[in-house]
């Protein structure tokens, strides 16, 4: 199969490697299901099937062209933000403001697409942050004001602002982005974040004993966290030199950062869901829950990875 024009070769090989892992996971799941039929393995096989769909959609989105990729990332962000707004208590008077908040998504992704660092960085934390309470004030309903403005601002930050860093990575200049361009950086971040989730889950299932945050996420263990961290450092060090401008030791470090940030994102979204008394944020992806359940790790990993890259690698410090 010829490599699509304009796609960095390394991205193509990385995607081929991911499909290799996926095939392996499908075989392992089929064997487990045969040996041990039941609800547990059914759930596992639903998850793996969903992975096939998600990875294929993601692959198509990033190999087509940068506009398609950015629109795809924006749409994913829209789904996450919509899930968030659907779960939290909202006020009827704020409907119009919520509509404006939705409109912040295309604006933020256009700034990311333009690779305009200043606009990208200020639009939500400064302008939307000032705009939302201002409109609520002008509408004039003060009951529940603090809760409404607090939950809306946090939601915009944790979904729209945090996830838009993925589009910002994609837009990185070719001179600083490394051997596989922005697509390579995005693939490195997303693949490692998702790999870390799976690795943590697997290590936890196999060796999990000591609970790490029992009140928030009772199934998470130290063994799972550390196993995931070690696996992701190794994978980062292997994949980094192909997909990023980083030498293997810094790439391993980046893998470690992604693993820790991913874990923190995961438990932060868990805390939010637990506060609202829901288990899954939605029912969009069979075996996984909603879109917010799938991108929870990315809400922390994307900004942390992007800003580390921006500070150290893009500016030529390393």
């Amino acid at each position: 199969m010829p490599i699509p024009e304009g796609l960095p070769e390394n991205v193509f090989y990385a995607i081929a490697a991911i499909y290799g892992l996926l095939i392996l996971a499908s075989i392992v799941t089929a064997v487990l299901k045969r040996r041990n039929p039941g609800e547990g393995t059914d759930e596992l096989s639903r998850r793996v099937t969903s992975w096939w769909f998600m990875i294929t959609i993601f692959t198509v989105a990033i190999i087509t062209n940068r506009v398609v990729s950015t629109v795809f990332l924006g749409f994913m962000t829209f789904l996450a933000f919509k899930e968030y707004l659907s779960l939290i208590p909202t006020r009827r008077v704020d409907r119009l403001i919520l509509l404006f908040a939705y409109l912040a998504i295309p604006v933020q992704f256009i700034f990311a697409h333009m690779n305009s660092y200043g606009l990208f960085l200020t639009f939500i934390p400064v302008w939307m942050f000032l705009f939302c309470p201002m409109t609520m004030t002008l509408i004039g309903k003060t009951e529940g004001f603090l809760r409404a403005v607090g939950t809306l601002s946090w939601g915009l930050m944790i979904t729209v602002f945090a996830l838009s860093h993925t589009a910002m990575l994609l837009a990185a200049d070719d001179i600083v982005a490394g051997p596989a361009g922005g697509a390579g950086l995005l693939l490195f971040l997303v693949a490692l974040t998702q790999f870390n989730d799976v690795a943590q889950f697997t290590w936890g299932k196999l060796f999990g004993r000591r609970k790490i945050v029992p009140k928030v996420s009772p199934k998470k263990t130290w063994e799972g966290f550390l196993g995931g961290l070690a696996s992701t450092i190794v994978l980062g060090a292997i994949a980094g030199p192909f997909l990023t401008p980083l030498p293997f030791y810094y790439a391993g470090l980046a893998g470690g950062m992604i693993a820790i940030a991913g874990f923190l994102g995961d438990v932060t979204i868990s805390a939010f869901k637990r506060d609202l008394g829901v288990k899954d944020s939605g029912g969009l992806i069979p075996g996984h829950g909603g879109i917010l359940d799938r991108v929870d790790s990315l809400t922390y990993a994307a900004p942390v990875f992007y800003h580390a890259m921006h500070f150290f690698a893009f500016s030529g410090r390393i």
Partner: protein, 211 residues
């Protein structure tokens, strides 16, 4: 001809909007009737309710779904009336009219094996707040006691498009179908069973307030 238009409207407009802008979480899908005659009894928050309930069924079953709707509202002008009758397939009900049997058209539809979509609250009312159920559904169940009545609780559509609003704000909606209930023998206990079932379904969702 109109059946083709109905099919296309649901395929090209209703389903994409529900999938992309709104997004549905459906629970208890197995409780929905496979074929008529049956009655769907749902709470009412928005004009989107009817479309959402109809979209839960396969496209080829669309023409068997008959929402009962107020004649004074939906037949008030020529265009709306054509749309409501042909594309949605409503059975017009005369609110407050004096007739021998106000439910006659609904009974005929059940006898033809169709699935009725009823909103026992009567009107959309305040969004995301339940109003008392009217007893019409009980009289219908009494006259056709073998027909299953499936309670369906919906949440979120009143936020997306409440009564009196013209712009649609994206929200995910939840649709929870409960187990079918049948005529219990008297109106009071039937309405009680329906209310209880609705309350249980509403509690299942852990929904946050909307004030």
């Amino acid at each position: 001809m109109t059946r083709a238009l109905q099919y296309l409207f649901f395929l090209l407009v209703v389903r994409p909007v529900l999938l992309i802008i709104l997004g549905m979480n459906v629970r208890g899908r197995e409780n929905l009737p496979q074929k008529g005659p049956a009655i769907i009894a749902a709470n009412h928050n928005s004009h989107l309710d009817t479309l959402t309930l109809m979209a839960l069924f396969p496209l080829k079953e669309l023409h068997r779904l008959r929402p009962a709707a107020a004649a004074d509202y939906f037949l008030s002008n020529k265009w709306l009336s054509w749309f409501a009758k042909n594309i949605i397939g409503i059975i017009p009900l005369n609110r407050g009219a004096v007739r021998k049997n106000p439910l006659a058209d609904l009974e005929t539809a059940l006898d033809k094996g169709e699935i009725l979509v009823l909103f026992p609250e009567g009107s959309r009312g305040e969004p995301e707040q339940r109003a008392d159920f009217k007893r019409g559904v009980a009289y219908l169940a009494k006259s056709r006691p073998e027909v299953p009545v499936v309670p369906v609780f919906m949440h979120g559509l009143g936020k997306a498009l409440p009564k009196g609003s013209f712009f649609l704000v994206p929200f995910n909606c939840d649709v929870i179908a409960g187990e079918a209930i049948k005529w219990t023998g008297d109106t009071g206990s039937f309405m009680g069973a329906l209310e209880t079932s609705m309350n249980d379904l509403a509690a299942e969702g852990h929904f946050q307030p909307w004030e």
